[in-house]
Symmetry: C2
Subunit: 689 residues, 2 copies
Amino acid sequence: MAVIGASSTKGKIGREILHNILRAEFNGKVFPVNPKASVIQSIKSYSTILDVPDAVDLAILIIPKEFVKEAAVQCGEKGVKGLIVITAGFSEVGPEGKKREQELLEVVNEYGIRMMGPNCFGAVNTDPRISLNATFGKVYPRPGRIGFITQSGAMGEAIMSHANELGIGFSIVASIGNKADMSSNDVLEYLRDDPHTDIILMYLENFGNPVNFTKIAREISRVKPIVAVKSGRTKLGAAAASSHTGALAGLDVGVDALFEQTGVMRVDTVEELFDVASALVKQPVPKGNRVVVVTNAGGPGILATDALISNGMEMPALSPATVKNLRTFASANASFSNPMDMVAGAAGREFKMTLDAIKTDKRYDTIMPILVPPVTVDQMEVARSIHESLADVDKTVLTCFFGAGEKPEAIEYLKDHNIPVYIFPEAIAKTLAALTKYRRWLSKPRGKHRNFKVDQAKVQAIVDEAMSSGQAALVGKQAIEVLRAYGIPAAGYRYAFSVKEAVDTATEIGFPVVMKINTPAILHKTEAGGVMVDLRHPREIRAAYLNLEKRVGKLKKGEKFSVALQQMITGGVETVMGMTIDPSFGPLIMFGLGGIFVEIMKDVSFRINPLTDTEAREMIRSIRSYPLLTGFRGSAPVDLKMLEETLLRLSQLVKDFDCFSEIDINPFIISDDKSLCKAVDARLIIRKQ
Amino acid sequence: MAVIGASSTKGKIGREILHNILRAEFNGKVFPVNPKASVIQSIKSYSTILDVPDAVDLAILIIPKEFVKEAAVQCGEKGVKGLIVITAGFSEVGPEGKKREQELLEVVNEYGIRMMGPNCFGAVNTDPRISLNATFGKVYPRPGRIGFITQSGAMGEAIMSHANELGIGFSIVASIGNKADMSSNDVLEYLRDDPHTDIILMYLENFGNPVNFTKIAREISRVKPIVAVKSGRTKLGAAAASSHTGALAGLDVGVDALFEQTGVMRVDTVEELFDVASALVKQPVPKGNRVVVVTNAGGPGILATDALISNGMEMPALSPATVKNLRTFASANASFSNPMDMVAGAAGREFKMTLDAIKTDKRYDTIMPILVPPVTVDQMEVARSIHESLADVDKTVLTCFFGAGEKPEAIEYLKDHNIPVYIFPEAIAKTLAALTKYRRWLSKPRGKHRNFKVDQAKVQAIVDEAMSSGQAALVGKQAIEVLRAYGIPAAGYRYAFSVKEAVDTATEIGFPVVMKINTPAILHKTEAGGVMVDLRHPREIRAAYLNLEKRVGKLKKGEKFSVALQQMITGGVETVMGMTIDPSFGPLIMFGLGGIFVEIMKDVSFRINPLTDTEAREMIRSIRSYPLLTGFRGSAPVDLKMLEETLLRLSQLVKDFDCFSEIDINPFIISDDKSLCKAVDARLIIRKQ
């Protein structure tokens, strides 16, 4: 391995990296390269990599940005296979740097070199056969079974430092920097196959190729858990968008959908990242969400209960057999409920006996002992008791030493014996929530992509015609025809250009009907008062027609007033479905209940297209207003199968046609009677060419 | 002072207390009392308190529970004014203990002694003129300006220990135990007047007298901030209740309402308690919610932005003048936005210059410097620069040393200089959210209780009649009359016992009308299909009548089918208001939007009765669906004044009549036209005698 640019006189970062490599006792040879020095840190140094006598596998560049390209060429000539470019000043600093990065990338591609960076913090591999710490941080991470990918060097160091304090070790640390060549996806694939890595942590600021990430992460999550902090949650802000689907997607929904679909556990903070990681490293993923709390004080027991229940855990009562068993020895003042409060006198002996009695209770998946260290109790003794009792249990064990800090030996003891310890019960509750979500994801059927028989040619014809005539969107009749071609039922339109025509058409359709302004074209008809619903009588048709005509007011030259008439569908539930394009994630499918639910309550779900049947099912079930679909106030449950199928058909339409930038089916009426399930209005915005 | 029960032979707790008192160098005389010892910890001991030669102000009892009462009598005879009873085994252990506590209370009442406990952890007063640590914990708290009230001894010690680690000191620590005599309210009143206390922290499990607490805390919050962890958030569970208001109140709404109304900052965890306390001790409450972040690394800047925005903060861009100023010295790679990313090279000098430039920018209320400690930077230098630049600024300063832990000197330095330091930016965001909420509460008008002219006598007459005839509830006509007597407009009922009567009545009322089953009585009419709305034609009346009659089916003997007819109010927004009795907080007033908003989205607000005008205003504005009231999709904004007044009239009704256990006004239609604002249905459940 050659370290290019390490200097004894200046270049602090190069010196640090070389120092770290030497300190970590790299299991190989190191050759410093620097045109101005012959010795660096007591090691013979070479002018260029071409002068190095041995073959070189990996080169680390820490040289002025102007010389990086030339050095890369020399590496290529030398036959180097891997390159870590620490040097900054590339795509992160604007167009000039971007160009520099592009040129560098061309060099490495030409020579078939794989490159990490530029603008990265380096990499660590703690495998004793390698023992490489090629970073310039002050932190030397412990060996462990966590692979860690970070997009920010500064965060990488801060996180490694925090991990050291928590006693958490790493197999690999990879700072991917600008990801010019190697991306987090590449490192993920490496970690999937790395026998030294059991768990993968990520700190991400954006996704290079989210479609690839989705594919790779979904597979890896099946075998190794991935936990990620993705920052930038609120940064996108709400970009102005021409329709509801677009505006709603202006949040972080693409990222959330991606995590939902891949099983990657998303956490909000670096603290939570390690809370979850500590549990994954030392304990099995809980088999269910049932927790028993065993505590020596009431207060933290209540705090734990609050936190567990709010995080979706269950706390079943102790089984009668367990209570009977406990009563043979426990204090009469104990509570014998869940939380099981042993009261303040409880010491090691009581913890041991109580946990022994409870660990066989089949009602629980997780055991959570809490110790509030009182004056009279030897914490080390309690730690030993917890370990003795629970070392061999086939449940998940997460311990809380409430507010601890005085006697770290006891905590260290438990950690060394694979029992994670937390200072506050809330951290355990959040951790269990993440693990439970992961377990549920693991146990879900993988899902299939359905392929319906549809009339793709017909849609193509409508699109071609619309595009050739310069239309910005498909609305009204055209939109309805597109949906029907994809097997999505839709209520047809009939147009009327006079009161008489309107009355006749309505009578033909059958009352009640809906009347909308057809021409002149108005985008948000409801807001403009351009929609009259539930018209039940020729008299009402007449009034509505005149009312709408009056609303439109003076017409432009050549315009003629007309209305669209449609069967009024009653008794169902209004839903909304649609598609919007996320700049990074591509098409997202959206689902929610109509009107206020979408617009005020923002109660919608998004998934990255294409959807599997499992995903369609889930996105329907994940909205808060879902109970409205399963029978509310005595109404019949809607046809959920039909709704799922409609989403899958929409997904297929989106997959087949990339010419739409946005689709809104609003409302799609769904009811218990399949024949009444229908799209009433739709709009497909054509992507600007 | 006498310590009663401290023993040299057994009684570990008594020994610890005496030891703590001596170690803290109590500024007065201590007399141990124990019938079996003549010397305890080298101090002369007395058989009973009556043998103590000097006058005694405070006695601390740590003796077997059986002897507590007798000792209390002796204290009374001795003229003791204050008693701390550490001994457990009173009301917390069941009926026998409850009786024991009652007897003890009678003794102290008789002698005019104020008592803390029993079953408490003791008390601390760090005032150097007193210097008392009468607790049995291992922790000796630092002196400081925080008064701390805890209901749990174990939590008290854990919290004191955690505070010591954080370098936070206390003026007073009071463990109130079973609160037989002195409650948290009494201690609160003491702390209000205590010149050594600026901030009050509380750990609470329940409220002894929430009405008093509300009154006291509301006043104290004006002068000293109160921060509380109230556990038991989810414990109440959802008690089965006969109506919506009741079921919705089965959450923690009483407690939340109380905190809303008193300005007490409620935090979820002990960690947050100290995050907020650290800011309050060292920094002013921010004047607004505008934050500027200054960081040496992008990653934590983004994490901070996410956390701040999600917690309701604003992050305006730097002013042009500030940017111009910064450009004169900052790195060209810096971001000049908010967060201001100085990039990784930034050290003490850059922090100083950047903060100097930013601190005069009037766009911000809070400055949040973030340091991610990289290899090249001296943390102490950065700490000094932050202090030098910001020591005299009139904004709030909260600093983040991201993931820190390696160089605590720098952090200690800042803390010693009144700049709180947090390890993760999320803690700062949550802290600012709590402080901002408090500031908003402080700046709100205090609110007035309105007193409307109402016909109380009429309601009394209706209630008397109903009670004497054994009615369980006021419904239909009676309920409408009660509302009208209190100036709440309500749509009248007319009854019909035949199709013909129904048609005639409907024609008289004017179409459209609503028809409901009147007799036989059905509680949830809508669910049972007993309500037909929007009937517009005699033909529809006929059909509806027959349909309802058919639904009712076979009548019991003596029953006669009838319907209630009511004007159909269209075009408004359905709201729901009501009252439910919380077991601790008494009557709570509820408000929300009708139907699904209340029942599925649980989008309601509660306040403890009686309401002030400010509170009525707020409870309307605090629901998520509030935008529906201010004009949605082009509809006119509703008459909010009218809505507020209606809530205040309901509040007055609830205050005047304690005979109701539950009130539901559902729906109350509200629109822009005051004459159309009306209660359509109501039900007042009469409290069981």
